[in-house]
Amino acid sequence: MKEFKHFNAYSVDEAVALMGRYGERAAVIAGGTDILGKMKDSILPAYPEALINIKTIDGLSEIKESGGMLKMGALALLADIADNAVIKSKYAALAQAAGRTASPHLRNMGTIGGNICQDIRCWYYRNQNNRFSCLRKKGGRCYAIKGDNRYHSIFGGSVSGGCFAVHPSDTAPALVALDAKIVTSSRTIDAEKFFEVKPVKTTVLKADEIVTGIQVPEPPAGSSSAFLKFALRKSIDFPIVNCAVMLTRKDGKVTAARICLNAVHVIPYRAIKAEQVIIGRVLDEAAAEEAGAAAVAEAKPLEHNKYMVAVARTLVKRAILACAEK
């Protein structure tokens, strides 16, 4: 890697001050498993002048339940989330998502904050030495449109002129399904509203704002959640499609549903139509099947990713049924 300055931030204020000073010229490093890959491959037109390490900030890695809420610091490790007994039993989709992310050793390094802030995956965007200076790098166009788009968005582009890259996080859809809130250094936002695409950003975070924690409300009585991931390999791989579902049932019928797909669009995709189908129904194969079909009703697949529509539909169905088993 080329040289850069390195700063350890010892408080959120310090981190924010540094970020304010450097703006786009610096990047925040938590687990490092995304940013270092980008730097090693020099994928962006400009190389970071500085890295701001936030692992040196105390108190950001706790996991606890209090006040009717699960509270996780932004630096909580994915492995710790996956193994946490409370999360496994009450916030199952999150534990499953964290446990299926990447590989065991990466889960000892990757943080929940970093996981939801991670950059898009697209093999044009991420090609070495900025080989494709695309829309998301303030360049000319989206190369996936006419290229090999087998892993790209099935719900259309995200900026004018294209960008069919996908958001690769496994935990993000689980947080959306569990109705989490993202706490930053300046505000608290619904998880669903946290993700936004502008040419060089994937979240609503300002240049001098960092995620400090995540809060997940205790699911209402009668709720269960599940997470499924589809990838070619059973380990290491980013998702091709994943799906997190939280359902609440009373007297055998669904009273509330939150269904979120990811890796199918540039931000997590909340399958509202699927939720509408399932509410008020008894959870059976037929209902789940219908919900799956509804989830992809608005799909606009590209030339090479039609299969992802079938997979998304199936995952929604199976995740719903997985909730039914609990």
Partner: protein
């Protein structure tokens, strides 16, 4: 006589101020509680139970520090992108990928590499040899370290637990079936011999 502008530069974050007072209040405001700054890049860490002190560049990964600078070449670089686990080291008791960690962020940490594990006579080494859990051998140190970390936290792993723990370790020669056998053999030996 022309007026000289002096720059007072914050040693913690590099921000510059026109006056010393300005610098002081910035330091109190933004970096309260910090000790005196050490030379940038000076780190101390324990590697295989020995104390080390290095002056590192920010861009150095932990792998580069240990493999290229220190010269412990047991850990290997297969992908250099966190996708293969050949560079696995145990840092503060957890198996992590050293190619995706910055050395400058390892100040005060404890690191175990395959050489240390072998020097301690861990039963995994013999178990690996006896069971042909290697062919070309390039990925083997990564597996040995990951297996050792597993046995540290779980003295009696099932085959499924072993596979889960090694699921991120790639082997192109595909020695996979042999690793659960070797790890079980080491676990049995440790149980029988009271070896820790």
């Amino acid at each position: 006589m022309s007026k000289e502008t002096k720059n007072y530069v914050c040693p913690y974050c590099g921000e510059s101020h026109d006056t010393q007072d300005g610098l002081k209040s910035h330091v109190f405001k933004s970096h309260k509680g910090r000790g005196l700054p050490t030379a940038e890049g000076r780190i101390k860490l324990m590697i295989n139970k020995a104390e080390h002190s290095f002056l590192v560049e920010p861009s150095w990964t932990l792998y580069y520090l240990i493999h290229d600078i220190l010269g412990l070449t047991g850990s290997k670089q297969f992908c250099d992108r966190g996708a293969c686990s050949s560079c696995t080291m145990i840092v503060d008791g957890k198996p992590v990928l050293s190619c995706m960690m910055l050395a400058i962020e390892c100040d005060g940490k404890t690191v175990e590499t395959v050489e240390g594990i072998a020097a301690d006579g861990h039963p995994l080494i013999e178990a690996y040899v006896n069971n042909h859990a290697m062919q070309c051998g390039y990925c083997t140190p990564g597996f040995v370290v990951a297996s050792k970390a597993l046995l540290d936290r779980n003295q009696d792993p099932t085959e499924e637990e072993i596979v889960e723990a090694l699921a991120g370790n790639l082997c192109r020669c595909s020695t996979y079936p042999q690793h659960p056998i070797a790890v079980r053999e080491a676990a049995e030996k440790m149980k029988a011999g009271g070896v820790k």
